[in-house]
Symmetry: C2
Subunit: 122 residues, 2 copies
DNA sequence: CAGCGATATCGACAAACGTCGAATCAGAAG
DNA sequence: CTTCTGATTCGACGTTTGTCGATATCGCTG
């Protein structure tokens, strides 16, 4: 409705929570699992994982949809997957004129990395 | 084809490959995405993620099925999910007498952690 | 061998998912 | 205002997934 609101980079902040000690440290509660699994599930599709890596590795940490649409599926499907990644809290989107840019939510990447961090050695 | 010499804990070695530079470094190829997404997908279910964390955090790095079966689903379902985790290369199983023990495939944990490692965020 | 407890497999079913083409929305440009 | 291009939404479809109860397998033990 509003032509340009204050919020450009909107995310589902519910999923961005600092959830999770390392998996090797203590078992996750049912609730933690529920929340965290959504992120893993979001990366559990080949096309989405590829889109995510395309955004993550793009210069400036963001990428226009038009730059990452060549992943072998139709454009509506790309849009659908980007939406899923956004809903999982992994990506944020911003419209700039004609194009829409996606960028990685950095805190989430760090959180997931920490989650999988191995205790150095056995 | 398996590179392992002394295999007592059998895994699907296809998925254990060292696949993957950090996601922020360069876009994954279609093939890399296909392979890596399977691991994320395996952790993309709440019950499976919980089972995995239960095994990962258990003393000795392994757990008997009987110790981790209380996750709110039926016993066949637990078995089904453990199989999925095994097929994804995340867990290995070993039968010792009456009980079956599962343990985390350590190299895979490290690989996934590296994959999500953030570039120190400037 | 018969029985028992622990896991795994099977078969079925509802729900969720990935995909597409068609239609719609949002800015930019004539 | 009309048109054009980029992106999202909609509706439909076949496939995959998570779950269960019933059944089978494996090892131990009497």
């Amino acid at each position: 409705m509003s032509k340009s609101s204050v919020v450009e980079l909107q995310v589902v902040d519910e999923a961005v929570a600092p959830c999770c000690p390392p998996l090797t440290e203590r078992p996750l509660t049912a609730e933690e699992s529920e929340r965290t699994a959504k992120m893993f599930k979001a990366l559990g599709d080949p096309v989405r994982l590829r889109l995510f890596s395309l955004v993550a590795s793009h210069e400036g940490g963001e990428a226009c949809v038009c730059d990452i649409s060549d992943v072998g599926v139709s454009q509506p499907t790309v849009s659908h997957h980007l939406k899923k990644l956004k809903e999982a809290g992994l990506l944020a989107s911003e419209r700039r004129g004609t194009w829409v840019y996606y960028r990685v939510e950095p805190s989430v990447l760090a959180a997931m990395g920490k989650l999988l961090a191995a205790p150095a050695s056995a």
